[in-house]
């Protein structure tokens, strides 16, 4: 069988690249995306529903992890340490500031404890300042700053559990027992020392 007769001879017009790419000549094989992921909410990578939080948690709820980057003041500064011309010329240090009181993305229940724990980082005007120059890349330093902010918020949100009644009882019991033993030891020791002294009763 002549293989040429199996093919169809088709004229290809001189189309521009943009038209060529967009015209509805969508090729779909057995491995196309609608067959691989039939249950996905949206096959588009850019737009579609997301489970992760995309909006900040309003003041009263728990911190959901979302930090609105627009509300942070990010400045690039000179980094410290060795590195020659690169560290002197490029601004790889990242400083992040935000006003704590007006930050709606931190829950109100955490704010007083947060301010208390990080009072050294908050200046007189009420701005929380954090600076990072750990790496040579600005992006990585920015990530480092944000990571520390998240860790500090989490530390402030953790309230210590405290001791339960049973635990308090056992601690008191142990204290009592220890003090009683100590008193017994003291008395024995003092007896030893008294026996060394010459006694008032004469053995005549």
């Amino acid at each position: 069988m002549n293989p040429i007769t199996n093919f169809v001879y088709r004229q290809c017009l001189a189309l521009s690249t943009r038209q060529f790419l967009i015209t509805s000549r969508t090729y779909k094989s057995n491995l196309s995306y609608d067959k691989l992921f039939p249950k996905s909410h949206s096959l588009d990578v850019l737009s579609g529903p997301i489970q992760a939080p995309t909006n900040e948690s309003t003041g009263k709820e728990k911190f959901n992890g979302f930090i609105p980057i627009d509300k942070l003041d990010v400045t690039h500064r000179h980094a410290r340490g060795p590195g020659g011309q690169h560290v002197n010329k490029t601004l790889t240090g990242v400083e992040i500031r935000f006003h704590v009181e007006s930050a709606t993305w931190i829950p109100e229940s955490i704010k007083p404890r947060f301010c208390d724990m990080n009072h050294t980082r908050i200046n007189r005007d009420g701005y929380f300042i954090i600076f990072s120059d750990e790496t040579r890349h600005r992006l990585l330093n920015q990530a480092h700053c944000l990571d520390r902010i998240r860790a500090l918020i989490r530390e402030a949100s953790l309230i210590p559990k405290g001791l339960s009644d049973e635990e308090r009882k056992t601690i008191e019991q142990r204290k009592k027992a220890a003090s009683q033993e100590r008193v017994i030891r003291k008395r024995i020791q003092s007896m030893h020392k008294q026996e060394r002294k010459p006694s008032s009763t004469d053995l005549n």
Binding site: N6, V8, R10, C12, L21, S42, V45, G48, I50, I69
Partner: protein
């Protein structure tokens, strides 16, 4: 053998042969050779060598047949740190710095999707499929300098910083696998079309690569788009940038190849005739089922 016992055997046994009777073995020559005497062994053994000096090699190595030399299996050295080097896939590096430079010098158009043939046409990379090279990988040098939104298709990404640098500027990144035959078509597309072969159908990745090409963290082309969206949001929050509005993207940014497709706009099975400016397409059912499978 005592006479009484012998007669007893004759009475009780059904058949009496030399092999049946429990007589002490006659020490044939064959038996003597297999069981040498201690004195005989000492006479045979050399006064020197590993046996006489109690310095035998580990099990599996015959000291007598080695004849004083190291056996072959010990002469060839072992280099365990190079294990798997013949099967390992190689990817040539391209940094974000070179990408930005090519865009600034207008050797690459950032408005169109940037693909392997686009990057190979700059003639900066010589990819050799027969040397176990499977394409290009993105490195994170120049992450702070990069500032153009692009639709990039690369074969491997090693660092999260590189992905974040592209998505921060509003770009899209996918990692895509090409088998060696498809790769040779992509590296020099014009030469491939001049060869007169139909466009190949791309194979699925090998088993040790499937995990990374289905991983949303690597932006693999076989990963679930829902997970990729989650990862984009996660990176945006981690590195501190805002993802751009999806409605502002042109349709070229959403363009994605089918897993079997190699060239944008061309299907596997088609034959491109550059001289006559035509494309020939197969009509036979078996070809169509093959190229659409």
């Amino acid at each position: 053998m005592p006479i009484e016992r012998g007669l007893q055997y004759l009475r009780q046994m059904q058949r009496v042969t030399l092999k049946n009777l429990p007589m002490p073995l006659e020490k044939t020559l064959k038996w003597q050779q297999a069981h040498p005497d201690e004195t005989k062994i000492k006479a045979i053994m050399s006064r020197k060598g590993p046996i006489s000096r109690s310095a035998l090699p580990p099990y599996g190595i015959d000291p007598i047949q080695a004849e004083g030399r190291l056996p072959w299996i010990l002469t060839v050295p072992k280099e365990p740190y190079y294990e798997g080097v013949e099967e390992a896939r190689q990817y040539l590096p391209i940094s974000l710095r070179t990408l930005q430079r090519l865009i600034d010098l207008r050797r690459i158009n950032p408005e169109k999707p940037i693909d392997l043939p686009v990057l190979c046409n700059t003639k900066l990379f010589s990819i050799q499929p027969d040397q176990r090279q499977f394409g290009l990988q993105l490195t994170d040098e120049g992450a702070d300098l990069f500032s153009t939104p692009i639709n990039l298709e690369i074969q491997w990404v090693a660092s999260e910083l590189a992905i974040a640098a592209i998505e921060r500027c509003g770009g899209v990144l996918t990692t895509r696998y090409f088998d060696p035959i498809s790769l040779s078509a992509l590296i020099d597309a014009k030469k491939f079309f001049e060869r007169g072969e139909p466009i190949p159908r791309c194979d699925t990745p090998p088993i040790n690569a499937v995990e990374s090409y289905t991983d949303p963290k690597q932006r693999g082309y076989l990963a679930n788009p829902d997970s990729i969206r989650e990862e984009r949001q996660r990176l945006a929050q981690k590195y501190g940038y805002k993802l751009p509005d999806p409605s502002k993207f042109s349709s070229l940014f959403r363009l994605k190849k089918d897993p079997r497709q190699i060239f944008y706009g061309l299907e596997p099975g088609w034959l491109v005739n550059l001289k006559d400016q035509t494309i020939l397409k197969p009509t036979d059912a078996k070809f169509q089922t093959f190229y659409h499978s």
